[in-house]
């Protein structure tokens, strides 16, 4: 693990199924969408765990369950030893001070009819014990300065800011309660590339300054590599591979990770020629009815009889140094970068 000591966040066998109902008056459950299906990981202080995967693999549902915006179907999310998934009322509210969120779309995540001061000050109005009333305005201005905005703009409205500046406002709101963990759900995918870099660098600076731990969800593999200490690769609600960023990017063991990495655009024309392209057949199966055994087997070129019968566990496989969930895991550098 990147850092020693007690983890700030412990996730164990987390499952979130959404029921599929039929009928209007007499509802009958005819199945369930298995959005998150058995995810476990630890997160340490000051560490960044990147989570990648294609659309619909359960990344955002995972973020919602971590934030206690959705109740888990089973499993636990422990923050400082207490389970946020079971917490209610006042206890849940107190626990929220420790885990905050930066959202994807800076245009809808800020209330257009609130001033920046009200938006960033709202955490203090909800958690009145954090800052006495007289100090709040000063604290909001400090936060604006921390994220690189002009503290004099406290009375402006979100529409008067650019996308990157709005995302900074969202980050300032997340920082207000001084949480240990910030869940970033695609925090830069709605921004221009030049501004993505600024926001990523801001997140890194804040991490060093405040010792924050990030869960960084994205589908842009190079952004995830840049910021993450460890990376988890998700496919249909499960981690298929989890390891340090260098392990995942240079020595991927799971065929799905290899296929994902082979799709990363390579700017250098020379490297582009050396790089392999693995093109997956078909679409991801429906999370309402995932394949038996290994979920990736329907699109995998290595699939054998055993893959349909036995589900591969996320464990360290022979010949690899990190966790992967494949019966035939073997490291294979697809990118040949550097």
């Amino acid at each position: 693990m990147a850092n020693g000591g007690e983890p700030v966040l412990e996730v164990r066998d987390l499952v979130k199924h959404f029921p599929l109902n039929q009928g209007i008056v007499f509802k009958k459950q005819i199945g369930s969408i298995k959005a998150v299906d058995g995810v476990s990981f630890d997160l340490h202080r000051g560490e960044t765990l990147g989570i990648v995967g294609e659309s619909g693999c359960g990344k955002s549902t995972l973020a919602k369950v971590l934030m206690a915006l959705e109740r888990p179907t089973s499993g636990s999310v422990k923050i400082g030893g207490r389970d946020i998934g079971q917490a209610r009322g006042g206890e849940l509210k107190r626990m929220r001070r420790n885990i905050q969120m930066v959202m994807q779309d800076p245009y809808t995540s800020l209330n257009p009819r609130m001033t920046v001061g009200d938006i960033i000050g709202e955490p203090y109005e909800i958690h009145t014990e954090v800052a006495p009333k007289g100090d709040r305005r000063k604290k909001v201005q400090e936060l604006l300065e921390v994220v690189g905005l002009n503290p004099d703009h406290i009375n402006r409205y979100p529409h008067q800011f650019s996308g990157g500046q709005r995302q900074r406002i969202g980050i300032a709101r997340g920082l207000a309660l001084q949480p240990e963990i910030i869940v970033c759900d695609e925090p830069v995918s709605a921004l221009d590339v030049s501004i993505q870099a600024q926001v990523i660098n801001l997140l890194e600076r804040l991490q060093n300054e405040f010792g924050l731990a990030y869960i960084f969800i994205a589908h842009d593999l190079s952004v995830v590599r840049h910021i993450s200490d460890r990376v988890g690769v998700m496919y249909l609600g499960k981690f298929v591979e989890l390891g340090k960023d260098a392990e995942i990017y240079d020595r991927p063991a799971h065929p799905y990770t290899q296929a994902l990495l082979s799709a990363v655009p390579v700017p250098d024309p020379e490297g582009r020629e050396r790089r392999e392209r693995i093109i997956l057949q078909g679409d991801p199966p429906s999370p309402a009815n995932p394949p038996s055994g290994c979920r990736f087997r329907t699109r995998c070129w290595k699939a054998q009889e055993i893959c349909a019968q036995e589900e591969p566990l996320l464990q360290i496989r022979p010949g690899t140094g990190h966790l992967s969930a494949c019966h035939f895991a073997e490291t294979h550098d697809v990118v040949h970068a550097g």
Partner: protein, 325 residues
């Protein structure tokens, strides 16, 4: 990747305080100017009030509304003739045109039209304003709760409103007003009858606006901060759903004043010797071709009142949208 932008100090001039990603320069300093001067934090409502006071439509509509309100409270300030005094009317002069002392002429019973219009303002405005307030509060509150809570609360509330929608409003109001006639003040009865049948309209609009607003990320962000239902409904959803309710509410105001006229005509609303604009219009209809003024004058007053409230509603709606300021 470039280095992170260093935090900027508060004292720097405007051009330097812009962080480097300000390619699209934000609008020049307009909001919060007053707030900065007084050192108080700005909020949606203080900024809206600051903005409203500078809007000509708001000023004009408020002048009209204040005059109408004064007219409703102290009609004797506007005319020395007491229309309730039988001696002020003279059948021999019925439908006489404008003359000195009787600027609008006389109505079918020879009463002074101007004095009657002034005295009729009270009932019409009280009915219009109170019914609008009641329907907006009831419909708005239920709409915001049903839209936010959804599920069983929404289902029950929506089915109930559908029942009310199925009742033809004039027939329904007629039924309510006729059933309780004589037991209550006739004005109060009209307000209740119109409110009972008027709120579902506001409910539907509020519910639809809340459902649109609640799917936005800022509501999720507020929940993640630990905000309770009350805060989400009234700090986040209400300001973002109010615009259409204000428009419908102000348009309804005119409809309610007109509906009161219909009820009076059917014999259950305001009755003579009480005066209301609706009643005056109803009385003047038969002789309209002979003497148009007894119908035109209260109708013009009614239109001006409705127009003033619609202008007020538009101004408030625009002031509550920071993008339009």
């Amino acid at each position: 990747m470039s280095n992170p932008t260093p935090p900027v100090g508060p004292g720097l001039p405007e051009t330097q305080t812009m962080v480097s990603d300000t390619v699209t320069a934000p609008a020049p300093e307009r909001q919060g100017r007053h707030a900065k001067k007084s050192g108080k934090p700005a909020s949606l409502w203080t900024d809206a009030w600051y903005d409203l006071r500078r809007r000509p439509t708001f000023i004009i509509s408020m002048i009209i509304i204040v005059v109408l309100l004064v007219m409703s409270i102290w009609p004797s300030l506007f005319t020395s003739i007491d229309p309730f005094n039988a001696r002020s009317c003279d059948l021999a002069t019925a439908r006489q045109g404008p003359s000195a002392g009787h600027v609008f002429g006389r109505d079918n019973l020879g009463c002074d039209l101007y004095a009657r219009t002034v005295y009729g303002a009270r009932n019409s405005i009280v009915i219009g304003v109170l019914t609008t307030v009641l329907t907006t509060v009831i419909g708005g509150l239920l709409g915001i709760i049903a839209g936010y809570r959804s599920g069983i609360v929404d289902t029950v509330a929506s089915r109930i409103t559908e029942i009310f929608f199925a009742i033809p409003s004039i027939l329904g109001a007629l039924l309510i007003a006729a059933t309780f006639r004589g037991q209550y003040n006739s004005i109060l009865l009209v307000i209740i009858a119109l409110s009972v049948l008027g709120w579902p309209m506001v409910y539907r609009i509020m519910r639809a606006a809340v459902i649109t607003a609640k799917s936005q990320d800022f509501v999720v962000a507020a929940k993640a901060l630990g905000a309770g239902s009350g805060r989400i409904m009234f700090r986040h959803l209400l300001p973002n759903s109010l615009a259409s309710v204000i428009v419908v509410g102000t348009i309804n105001l005119g409809n309610f004043i007109a509906a009161e006229a219909a009820l009076s005509f059917l014999g259950v609303g305001v009755q003579s010797p009480d005066i209301s604009w609706g009643l005056m219009i109803a009385d003047a209809r038969n002789r309209f071709l002979e003497a148009p003024l007894p119908l035109v004058i209260p109708a013009v007053f009614l239109s001006i009142t409705v127009l003033a409230f619609i202008m007020l509603g538009d101004a408030v709606r625009d002031a509550l949208d920071p993008k339009l300021r």
